[in-house]
């Protein structure tokens, strides 16, 4: 009986995964700065405490951009949870970014 209850509770509360992002920027250029701000804001609003953002400045580390096949900045890559997603641009279009990164309601 107890075991069943425990199982029920587990099913109702899904495991909350940590989101891992990698954001490629070009120093403090306008779009890069906007992308930085937008991704941080969205994560705070949608997945507070369950995210990790790794910012890569291509002006300092170009090899990382090459490795990740990044062609332009800003580029945001959702590394985890899989599947990987890449979003280009300053991330100003909140609705589209949320949909692309799978940050819609059910994960809250």
């Amino acid at each position: 009986m107890k075991a069943r209850k425990r199982e029920k509770r587990r099913a109702a509360k899904p495991v909350r995964e940590t989101y891992v992002f990698r954001l490629f920027v070009a120093g403090n250029e306008s779009n890069s700065s906007q992308a930085r701000g937008n991704v941080a804001r969205l994560c705070e609003e949608r997945i507070k405490g369950r995210y990790k953002i790794e910012v890569v400045d291509v002006l300092k580390d170009v090899s990382s951009a090459h490795k990740n096949k990044v062609l332009v900045t800003p580029t945001l890559i959702l590394i985890k949870p899989l599947p990987k997603v890449t979003v280009l641009g300053n991330l100003n279009d909140t609705k589209q970014v949320i949909a692309a990164l799978r940050l819609n309601g059910d994960e809250r």
Binding site: S30, N31, V58, V72
Partner: protein, 274 residues
């Protein structure tokens, strides 16, 4: 969205800061650069316009000073010489001769002053208006140089804004000077044509033509001046071969709004017209 589509969208919406190449990072401040360029272009245009108007005003002041100071001084000198001449006795032949020569020099000086003053300030533009002034300019050019010069227009009854009239006149003057000095031409043609959206001025000749280097050279001050005047009016300026085997063609296009053509009654009384 496909990767390529995403890339194109980001580029089109100017959300891209840098392009990551094989070895280089190319920063692209598209929007910012575009805005900066636009703003500098407007500033340059305003500056050119201000400089030209300042130059015209300065010229007018110099012309007036020349006319008033030198003109009157030389007239007094002429009268004085004539008075001395009348006082001389028949025995003072060498003196009489000298006075005659000085009087001739004074007359030449008076003519020169008048020419310089009218060159500095085209008073004829005020009196006759642009079209008649250009006609007279073509006639005078033919008379001075022997190069056959014709003027054609469909704007005979049009009224021109003062700054536009001065600019067009100065461009024609400079173009004709260049033809006389450099073109080795036997024929020149000036056309001032009103079109749907603006006024087109063309000055052509059948001379030796002009090289690209000269057209865009920094030392070609006359050409630079003409270009500045056209740009200050929001127009365009082109200079090059006439397309046929020989000659040069200069084309200036000015938007109608900057030239103000039409019956005098339809515009503000404060706007000077020519």
């Amino acid at each position: 969205m496909e990767e390529a589509e995403k890339l194109i969208h980001a580029l089109r919406t100017q959300q891209v800061d840098a392009i990551v190449g094989e070895r280089h990072i190319m920063l692209v401040r598209l929007k910012q650069a575009e805005e900066n360029l636009k703003s500098s272009r407007n500033q340059l245009r305003a500056l050119a316009s201000y400089l030209l108007s300042a130059r015209e005003n300065e010229r007018a002041v110099i012309a007036r000073e020349l006319h008033d100071e030198f003109g009157q001084g030389l007239t007094s000198l002429q009268l004085g010489l004539s008075w001395i001449s009348r006082k001389l006795t028949p025995g003072q032949q060498p003196l009489q001769k000298k006075i005659k020569s000085l009087s001739a020099t004074t007359t030449n000086l008076m003519r020169s002053v008048k020419n310089i003053a009218s060159e500095l300030r085209p008073g004829v533009l005020n009196e006759l208006g642009l079209v008649k002034t250009l006609k007279s300019e073509a006639r005078e050019f033919e008379g001075h140089t022997g190069i056959r010069c014709r003027f054609k227009t469909n704007t005979a009854k049009a009224k021109f804004d003062r700054s536009a009239a001065v600019a067009i006149f100065r461009i024609v003057q400079a173009a004709l000077t260049n033809i006389a000095r450099h073109a080795h031409a036997s024929r020149a043609h000036i056309a001032l044509t009103k079109r749907k959206n603006g006024v087109t001025l063309t000055v052509t000749d059948n001379g030796k033509g002009i090289s690209r280097k000269l057209v865009y050279g920094h030392d070609s001050l006359g050409i630079t001046g003409m270009r500045e005047r056209a740009l200050a009016l929001g127009g365009t300026f082109t200079l090059g071969g006439s397309g046929s085997s020989k000659g040069t063609i200069l084309t200036v296009q000015i938007p109608l709004s900057r030239v103000i053509i039409g019956p005098a009654s339809s515009r503000s009384r404060n706007t000077p017209q020519f």
